[in-house]
Subunit: 253 residues, 2 copies
DNA sequence: CGGGTTCTTGACTAGTTTCAAGCAAAGTGG
DNA sequence: CCACTTTGCTTGAAACTAGTCAAGAACCCG
């Protein structure tokens, strides 16, 4: 199992000046000083193979990460193997802040696809707070957004019906993928298995499958062979009991 | 319905130098400069009557708050009235950061008991980030802690059995009350109704009641007339499938 | 061409919700 | 001070949702 490979040495390294994420319209721009700081804040790049966990529940981590490419997810496990997926991380999402700010991680993070991560040392985090209040503010913004997503998820799992849950989650993931620039022609590559959905929504695999199957004839979306195609966003939003709003600008580091 | 009463004018105002929370061992101490800043950051005090919401889903707020005394809770509602309680706020807990950092609140906050709040204007938040990186860091810390609690809650609602959920929540609330100095002789005043528990755990009221009733004969706790007495913490932790760890120092503003 | 993973379905069972009703305690108003 | 209302707790029965078990199909990989 590939736990990860470091890559400042070989030719694969992405310098912040050329960061592909910076072009995205949904992300705020850096000043020259911020950029210079972030460049030295990023000490390495990490490649993690699909299926391996690069942050572990119960350990403390020397680093925090921004996803450069690929999908990851945060999750918690109970002793007997029950798993709850808490949230997903896409390119430009920050991961591991909890471990950097507090003593210990209380969740794990696994790569859903092959993932490339920017590595930031927690030792320089204080520097960031001291010298770049703007970036410190952005960190708080990101933490708030994570909280917002968790709130919404908790509402789903606690109070929405199975159909609403699935519709809502699919819509949510689609919109995030869209924000991350991964959607073309209303289509995204969706790396999830039904087991992932089940573990996100607090449902069994079988029930997830049956609900999905009951949703299919409504033709709001098509999902097959890892490709997800949105056919009728409004219909899906209606099934979810939500409105189909589009994204707004946001910061990242 | 008392929406709130402002009180710098009358004799009730608590100045930060005399803040009763500062004595608590579980909270970190301020430097003199921090204290001076926080004193002018706090522009008012708000009293909210039990049962009224002082922050509303879908609105933006000019203020953020720290709970000085009383219990509050964050929640979300669906159009048809289904409610999900997201988390509780006790003295020294911060509320409304989301609204201050982002455009809009995506949840509401209601006073569970009569509550006194310290009022901070979002307009001075940037000042805080610029001049007091230490406090900015504390805000991030608080946001991370909120996230941690939400993670745990999501795990409960998604993957724990009804019995485990209730046991876990009661233990959690007890431990937080303890951290807030509200426990004496293993007893706290618990302001919740069973409906609150149900809405926190994503269960129906009836099922919550029956589960609670099934738990009673194990004598791990006694809960009657708003008084909660912890009788056997280890037993409750066992029912919850958790360990009964005790709290660690934390910041507040 | 196996062996593994993922998806799918049916049958059965367990867990949960809904409905309905009763009771106790506290609060309200004449 | 006593009906009367309201709120919160409790219980049983019926209906339904969701989970478990089991097995087969489709697909991928080496």
């Amino acid at each position: 199992m590939i736990v990860g490979a470091t890559s400042r040495q070989n030719g694969q390294y992405t310098y912040c000046e050329q960061c592909p994420l910076r072009c995205r319209s949904s992300l705020r721009e850096f000043t020259a000083e911020e950029l210079a700081f972030v460049r030295q804040f990023k000490v390495d790049e990490l490649r993690v193979g699909a299926g391996s966990s690069f942050l572990q529940q119960g350990t403390s981590s020397e680093h925090l990460y921004t996803v450069l490419s690929g999908w990851a997810f945060r999750y918690k496990m109970l002793d007997d193997g029950r798993r709850q997926i808490l949230n997903y991380a896409l390119p430009a999402d920050l991961v591991g802040l909890q471990g950097a700010v507090m003593r210990e991680m209380e969740h794990s993070v696994e790569a859903l696809t092959n993932v490339v991560l920017c590595v930031f040392p927690r030792s320089k985090l204080w520097d960031l707070y001291t010298r770049f209040p703007s970036l410190a503010f952005d960190l708080t913004w990101l933490a708030s957004r994570e909280e917002q997503i968790l709130d919404e998820n908790l509402l789903s799992v606690g109070r929405r019906s199975a159909t609403e849950r699935i519709a809502f989650l699919l819509l949510h993931l689609y919109m995030r993928a869209e924000e991350a620039g991964l959607v073309a022609a209303n289509t995204v590559e969706f790396p999830f298995t039904q087991q992932h959905l089940a573990d996100t929504l607090g449902m069994s695999l079988v029930h997830t499958n049956k609900t999905l199957r009951r949703l299919a004839p409504r033709s709001a979306f098509y999902w097959k062979d890892r490709m997800f195609k949105m056919a009728d966003r409004a219909a899906l939003a209606e099934l979810a009991g939500a409105d189909a709003a589009t994204g707004k600008p946001r910061p990242f580091i």
